[in-house]
Amino acid sequence: MTALPREILICTIAGLLHDVRHVAVGASSPMPAAGAMLRRALDEDRRKVRLSILGSVEHNFFTNGSTELFDSAGQGRLDAFFLGGGQIDGMANVNLVGVGTYPQMSVRWPGSFGSAYLYFTVPRVILFREEHSPRVLVEKVDFISAPGISAPDTYRPGGPVALLTSKALFSFDSQRPGFRLESVHPGHSLPEIIEATGFTFDHDDTPPLTPEPDAATLSMLRGRVLDELSETYPAFAAQWRRDLAETIPHGASA
């Protein structure tokens, strides 16, 4: 079985979520949701992984309104969260507000949502943005919705640990500070990634390839996880199923 690119991303996400007890996923985030569902399925025999999908009625066990996610983060009960960003820079600053000079920006995005709090309080924030281009991965963001690092007098139990794109996986070191290329996804190369990244980052001369999932994991992903996902993201799941049908040779076991 050969994994689809999105399947490699989802499995990479599940890997980044090792040992979490409670992970939250923003609205309209099918791949982080699938990664968290895969993590839950993989760990089922060992421990309970709780998954909150914001805005979802089914995958939301909160009963105290939209404040409860943030409260649970403040209490240290939320281990991992995903953050996107119209712009992300080399200091892991995230911009969800817009391009240009604030406030009358030339491009306005929706806004910062909970980033300026969760980025400080959730121990494992995973930056996830499929588009890997100099437009997104910039040297310096135009507006800091949430800063990647903080001064010592700022309470900060949380922060970024990784940046995952369609091309590569980076880790973030808040001490240095900066990103380090951990692996390159199949089909991509270091020069291409340097070209597509607006900030400098650490890397090996020959960075490893992002591993593909083993057969058992892939089968769990295409079975149970895909089923679970279709409840919340029917369109994404249907497209995935169509792509699988096209990719996998007829008669091959799925």
Partner: protein, 265 residues
């Protein structure tokens, strides 16, 4: 029904601040056109904690002076066209926030205190741009800075829920941000799918999810009153209609045409 909605809308006066809920919590879309027809403008909107279709339409109709929000978007249907346009043209003032800061401001009002402390924020441009927010030294620990968020006291909170009883108690279920809005606001206007004859406070099961009439100033029936948004436990979002609006409202003319159409949920 339309008359009742007009009566509710008429309680809004120019210059007031309105608290409006996040798209999945129970947006009173049924009140949007009555508010626009009533025409009280120069409004300040407080999105709890983000805004969507209703906010975009009130902005498009020219009723809005400023918006405090953590985001404005149409979700799956994309960016909020009238909001984005107004920001680019400088037509409205945006007080960019982050979700828990808006909750903190409402909580301060609920508790009757001038502010709430809040973690996070420090080093962000959100904080840098908010002259009304401050950073203080934590009085309990040296070498620890913390942001403080002033109380948010909306003049009027407006939302939509499944039911109210004849005493004016309204059922908010687990959407407790609706209670937080009502506690903080001077007046609260609620539209409901239906009015029930039994008292929602009479048994412990329904009482648990009920906002008492003490906090509710007016209730009006509006079946499918959140449409095209969905309402928890009742109906799903009408994504096609959201997309239809998103497409139409790309231009002021398209927006005007869309809003002029008769609504049928």
């Amino acid at each position: 029904m339309a008359e009742h909605l007009r009566a509710l809308a008429s309680l809004v006066r120019p210059g007031m601040s309105l608290a409006l809920p996040v798209d999945y919590a129970g947006v009173s879309m049924a009140m949007t056109r009555p508010l626009i027809r009533h025409g009280a403008g120069d409004l300040h909107l407080v999105c709890v904690p983000t805004g969507g279709l209703q906010v975009d339409q009130l902005i498009g109709a020219g009723l809005v002076r400023s918006v405090e929000t953590s985001a404005v978007s149409l979700g799956e249907a994309g960016g909020a066209p009238r909001f984005n346009d107004a920001v680019k043209k400088g037509g409205i003032r945006v007080m960019d926030a982050t979700c828990p800061a808006i909750h903190a401001g409402l909580m301060a009002a609920q508790k009757g205190v001038p502010f709430m402390p809040m973690r996070g924020l420090i080093g962000s441009d959100i904080l840098a741009q908010r002259a009304d927010w401050q950073v203080i030294d934590n009085p309990l620990e040296t070498g620890d800075s913390i942001a403080i968020i002033p109380a948010i006291h909306p003049d009027i909170a407006i939302f939509h829920v499944p039911m109210a009883d004849r005493d004016g108690n309204v059922w908010i279920g687990r959407r407790r941000e609706l209670a937080a809005m009502a506690y903080a606001a001077t007046q609260t206007l609620v539209t409901v799918e239906r009015i029930v004859d039994r008292s929602l406070l009479a048994d412990e099961t329904t009482a648990a999810g009920t906002l008492p009439a003490l906090y509710v100033d007016a209730v009006a029936e509006a079946p499918r009153g959140a449409w095209p948004y969905g309402l928890w436990g009742e109906y799903a979002t009408d994504t096609d209609e959201m997309v239809r609006y998103a497409t139409a409202a790309r231009t002021p003319e398209g927006f005007a045409d869309y809003m002029a159409q008769e609504v049928c949920a």
